[in-house]
Symmetry: C2
Subunit: 280 residues, 2 copies
Amino acid sequence: MRDFSRDTSVLALNTATLGHILDGHGAGWSPERVTDACAERGFGGIVFWRREIGGDAVRIGERVRAAGMQVAGLCRTPYLTGRDAGSDDEVTASIDMAAGLGAPVLTIVTGGTEPGTKGLEESRKRLAGRIARHADHAAACGVRLALEPLNPMFGGNRTCVFTVRDALEVCRALDLPHVGIAVDVYHVWWDRTLPEVLSGAAGKIFGYHLCDWLEDTGHMLLDRGMMGDGVADLKALRRMVEAAGYDGFCEVEVFSADNWWKRPPAEVLDVIVDRFRTAC
Amino acid sequence: MRDFSRDTSVLALNTATLGHILDGHGAGWSPERVTDACAERGFGGIVFWRREIGGDAVRIGERVRAAGMQVAGLCRTPYLTGRDAGSDDEVTASIDMAAGLGAPVLTIVTGGTEPGTKGLEESRKRLAGRIARHADHAAACGVRLALEPLNPMFGGNRTCVFTVRDALEVCRALDLPHVGIAVDVYHVWWDRTLPEVLSGAAGKIFGYHLCDWLEDTGHMLLDRGMMGDGVADLKALRRMVEAAGYDGFCEVEVFSADNWWKRPPAEVLDVIVDRFRTAC
């Protein structure tokens, strides 16, 4: 296992961290400007959101690689379950977009509880069925699907997969080499079973997402902390995913409407590099 | 195991459901008026909050029993960990208040992460130490301590115990007959490991709290659903706690600032009885 504790080439920016993916937030930087600002600071990768890409996937992917970086991933499939689930065509289009970008990983946030059902069984059955239906196309495109468990506060309308254990169960049932998990510290930092659960996840961790859990979280979605500002044991979490064989990017994803999204993007990127070296 | 599916004598009201524990919410009913309204509807028990009781514990407890009900419990100890932890004197006073009321159970919400620490180890050590320090006094008072895991969204400043498994681990390490757990569907409904975990909890479940998890949760603390209005599989959850030997009260605890707290308390109590019979 390589020691990358101070090597920013494993650092990837999830563009949501600059807030520019949402109207009225961030400085309105283009994908190109974000790419150059990351490259200048030694980031190795960048992760985009679909709404930023439009029909420009191939061009943007080439632009990132020309700057010396990788497109580390794409956020994300439409929801696969629940009231707000997307169509199969939309899922296929998200896979095609990832392929166009040259993104090796497409994240899945599952979506919520199936309408008219109680508990999670029906939702998880539909989830597994929909992943299975799209897995061949993803594999043919060279795109791996990373199922991301979300903090249980997102049950109901955003997810039916809450823990790394939940996500690995879905993966094991599907048994497809291109279907794995993403581990985001915001969602899983509290889970005391992680050392045990991750020790059985060899080869299945396709993404590792960094931020911090603030002592006081004012908003479920948009009040994530910068690494080092919260209570998550980020060094222990990184040791766990590395011990499970993960050697991919450390992707910084800080949704922070009232703090980091209000700062100049260049400042945010500088802080990320510093915190990555000291707190992660 | 008795069949109490339609027997409201196992139904208890947590007074927070009427909103009157917070300034500016609810109809300002006194403990006596809540007691009578519950007794009229066949509730078997009532659970108070400390701020409602003041120096009147003995009188209020007798009043509840005179109305034909039990004081089912008291909410709650001061926090035992984290920035906002209460003093030992405050913890002792909460135990004494439960004893004065004749409440057999005092709930523990742990409090958050210990200042200056990362992760949860230090917080859980302090938690176990503080429970152990107060357990003898609680036992001597006939008060059982029910450690309540909270939904992981309450990490940081409210809890360091997130799952039934977490809470049982603390209990097992302490190995004290008067220290067990409370299972609240709001906090644990999402946990796929519950059937297995609860099957090992025989004799340790001291409370079962009812509400529902709404498909759209607008506020972490104050947007709980009435039973039947959400996505939790309440019938399956009740079967699980009963299968683990629990035969105590089903305590309804609905924090709902924008919906149920705005309705007349008599209406809320009527709905609870109806939903308890049909949805739980």
